[in-house]
C-alpha cells in the first residue's frame, strides 16, 4: 500500500513532466481562433482587477467593450512595475486588437510598446499624452472638476462650516486632483468653509488604498471635531470613510469614482452624491471606437460629474442645487477654473 502510493505519485510526476515537455509548443497554436475575433487585453497597474477602484473600473470597461463589439477580453495583473513591458507584450505577441493599460504609471511602457506592436491600439487609462503617439489614446479625466462639484455640495450642505476629506495618497495624481478640486469648490461656494484633508501617507504605497479601518477611524475623528460632510476618495480606504459616516449616523458622506450608492450600499442613508470619474463608459467607448475605426491618437477627455442624490435628495437644499448648477455651468463653459495643479507640486 505504502509502496503503491509512492509508485503512483512517481508515475504522476513522470506523466506530468512528460505532458509539460510535449505540450510546450502546443498552447501557442490554439490561440489562432477560427474567425478573426476582436480581442481586448487589459494590463493592470500593481494591483488587482477587483480593487473596487480604477483597475476594476477599467476592467469593467473592457468587458463592456467586449460585449458591445462582440469580442473577447482578458486581463493580466501586474505584481511588480518591472513586469509592465512583459505583461503588455503578452497581449502584443498574441496579436490583440486593443490593449488597455491602466494607471499613470504605465504611461511610458505603453508608449514604448505602441511603437513595437503597431497593429494593436492602446488605451492608456489616466495617461496624459504630452504629444500624440501613433496607436495610443490617453483616457484622462479632469478629476479636479468632479472634486470641485463635490466640494460645492459639501460646503453648501455643511451646517458647521467644516468639511473633511479622507483620501488615499497624494502620490497618485488623480487622488490629489480630487482632493484639491474639492477644497477649491468648497471655498468657491462658501468662502469661510474650513476644509481638512487627510491622506493615508503613513503606510506603504501598496497599502494606502486598502485600509477601510483607517478610513473609518479617520472620518470619525474628523466628525468629532465638527466636520459634518466627509469626502472619501481612495479605493477601499475611502469606502471606509463612507462607512464611518454611515455608522455615526450624523452628517453626510460623498463617494468617488462611481456612483457609490450602488457599490457601498451600507452608506445609502448618508451618501449625498459621488464625484464620478466615468472610467467604465470612457474605456468602453474607446474600444468601440477602435472597432468602428474612429479611434484617434492623443488625449481623450473622459466624463466626470456628480452622481444623483438618491435617498438624500429631499435633504439637499434648493440653495445647494442652485449653487451646484452655477458651478456646473461655469465649469462647462470654461468661465470657472479650479486652478488645481495636475500633480502635487514637489515643494
Amino acid at each position: 500500500m505504502k509502496k503503491n502510493l509512492f509508485t503512483l505519485l512517481s508515475a504522476l510526476a513522470i506523466v506530468s513532466l512528460a505532458l509539460a515537455a510535449c505540450a510546450t509548443p502546443a498552447p501557442v497554436a490554439p490561440t489562432a481562433m477560427p474567425a478573426k475575433a476582436f480581442r481586448i487585453g487589459l494590463v493592470t497597474d500593481v494591483g488587482k482587477v477587483d480593487d473596487k477602484s480604477f483597475n476594476q473600473s477599467a476592467w469593467e470597461g473592457a468587458q463592456c467593450g467586449a460585449k458591445e463589439t462582440g469580442g473577447t477580453t482578458k486581463y493580466i495583473e501586474t505584481t511588480d512595475p518591472k513586469d509592465y513591458d512583459k505583461n503588455i507584450a503578452q497581449f502584443g505577441d498574441e496579436g490583440y486588437d486593443v490593449i488597455v493599460t491602466v494607471g499613470f504609471a504605465l504611461g511610458e511602457a505603453t508608449i514604448k510598446n505602441a511603437a513595437k506592436y503597431t497593429k494593436a491600439k492602446f488605451i492608456g487609462v489616466d495617461q496624459f499624452q504630452e504629444k500624440p503617439t501613433a496607436g495610443v489614446g490617453g483616457l484622462i479625466f479632469p478629476e479636479d472638476q468632479a472634486g470641485f462639484q463635490a466640494g460645492v455640495v459639501a460646503a453648501m450642505m455643511s451646517k458647521t462650516g467644516q468639511i473633511g476629506a479622507v483620501l488615499g495618497t497624494d502620490v497618485v495624481p488623480p487622488v490629489y486632483r480630487f482632493g484639491e478640486g474639492y477644497r477649491a469648490g468648497a471655498v468657491w461656494a462658501k468662502k469661510d468653509t474650513k476644509v481638512n484633508i487627510i491622506y493615508h501617507n503613513d503606510v506603504g504605497f501598496d497599502k494606502t488604498f486598502t485600509d477601510p479601518e483607517w478610513g473609518k477611524t479617520t472620518a470619525l475623528s474628523m466628525m468629532d471635531k465638527g466636520a459634518d460632510v466627509i469626502f472619501g476618495a481612495g479605493g477601499k480606504t475611502g469606502n471606509g470613510a463612507l462607512l464611518g459616516v454611515a455608522q455615526s449616523k450624523k452628517g453626510f458622506a460623498i463617494g468617488v469614482d462611481t456612483d457609490q450608492y450602488l457599490t457601498v450600499p451600507e452608506a445609502k442613508e448618508v451618501l449625498l452624491t459621488s464625484a464620478m470619474k466615468l472610467i467604465v463608459p470612457g474605456t468602453c467607448d474607446l474600444i468601440k471606437a477602435v472597432k468602428a475605426g474612429s479611434f484617434k491618437d492623443g488625449n481623450v477627455v473622459g466624463k466626470v460629474g456628480l452622481a444623483p442624490f438618491h435617498d438624500t435628495e429631499s435633504k439637499v437644499t434648493a440653495e445647494t442645487k442652485a449653487k451646484l448648477d452655477e458651478a456646473q455651468k461655469g465649469l462647462a463653459a470654461g468661465t470657472l477654473k479650479t486652478n488645481v495643479a495636475p500633480v502635487k507640486p514637489a515643494k
Binding site: 488587482k48 477587483d50 473596487k52 477601510p212 479601518e213 470619525l220 468629532d224 469606502n239
Partner: protein, 367 residues
Amino acid sequence: MAAQTSTAGDRLRSILRVADLGRFGMIILLIIVLMGVVALVGAKENRVEVILASFLATLFSVATPLTLGALSGIYCERAGVVNIAIEGMMLGSAFFGFIASIYLKQAGLSDQMSLWLGVAAAILTGALFALLHAVLSITFKVDQIISGTVINILAIGITGYLNRQLFFQGNVPHAPGVLPVIHIPFLADLPVFGKIFQQQPVAVAAVLLVAITHFVLFYTPWGLHTRAVGEHPKAADTVGINVYFVRYANVLIGGMIAGLGGAYFTLESVPSFEPLMTNGRGFISLAAMIFGNWSPFGAWAATLLFGAAQAMQINLQYYSTSIPEGLDFLKKSQIVGMIPYILTMFALTGIVGRTTPPVADGQPYEK
C-alpha cells in the same frame, strides 16, 4: 506593626511587579506627551476637551485589534511557543468570519444572528490556524518562526484567492452590517467624553480580556502551569504538568483571541473584507507584546501607545495649518508615521525597562 507593614509592602510590591505597573505608567506618560502635542497644536481650532475626546476615541479603536493580537501572542509565548503568525491568523479570521456572516444572512438568519455567528466563525478560524501552528511546532517540532511564516503566507494567498473567486464579477456580497454599539451605563452619558464609552463588543471584550488574561496568568493554577511550561518545561514535566497539553491549549486560546481580533476588521469596524486588510497590524501587535514585556497590562499600554501614535498622525494632518513655524516635519505624514516604529525600537533598547522573554520561548520540548 512594623513587620506587618513591611509584609504588606512586599505583597504590594510583588503585585506591582507582576502587573508591571512601572512599564504601564511609563507608556501612559508617553501617550500623554503625544496627546499634549496634538492638544497644543489644535488648541487654536477646537476646544481642548473635544480634541482629547476625539484623540482617545481614535486611540481605542486603533488599539482594539492590536490588543487582541498582543494577547494572542502572550498566551502562546508564555507557554513557550513563539507566534509570529498573528497577522495571518487575523487576516484569515477576518475573511472567514465575514464569509460566514454573509452566507448565514443569505440562509435567512437575522443580521444580528449572522453577525454573532460570524464572530464565532472567526474565532474558530483563528483556532484552526492555531491548531496548524501547534501541530507543526509542538508535535512536528518545526521551527516556530518558520511555522508562523508559513501561516502568514498561506493566509494571504488563500484569502486573496478565495475573495476573488467568490466576490468578483458583479457578485457583490450583502453583508449584515456591523456589531451593535454597547452603551456602558453612566459613563456613556458623559458630555464630550461619553462616546469613548460607547463601544462595540469586540472592543469591550479586548479590554476585559486584558484583565482576564492578567488574572489567569498570575492568579490561577492554569496560569502557573502555563508560565512554568514557558520558563522551564523540564521542571514542569517532572512535577507532573503535561507540557504538550498546556502548550497546545494555550496556542489554541491564542488563536481564538487572534480570531476575535480578525472579527474586529470585518464584523465590527467595517462590513467588508479586502485582501491584505490587516495591513501589518499583526506584526505591530507582536512588537506591542514585546514592548509590554509579555505582560497583559504592559502590552495593552503598548497597543494604546500605537493607537496614540496613529491618532497623532491623523490629528496633525487635520490641524496641519496650525502647526507652528519650525516644526514643519510634523506636517510630513510619512515622517510622523515613523514615530511608533522608532519608539518601539527605543523601547526595545531597555529605556522602558529591559524586556525578557519567557526562558523556553521558541524551543520545542523534547521529553
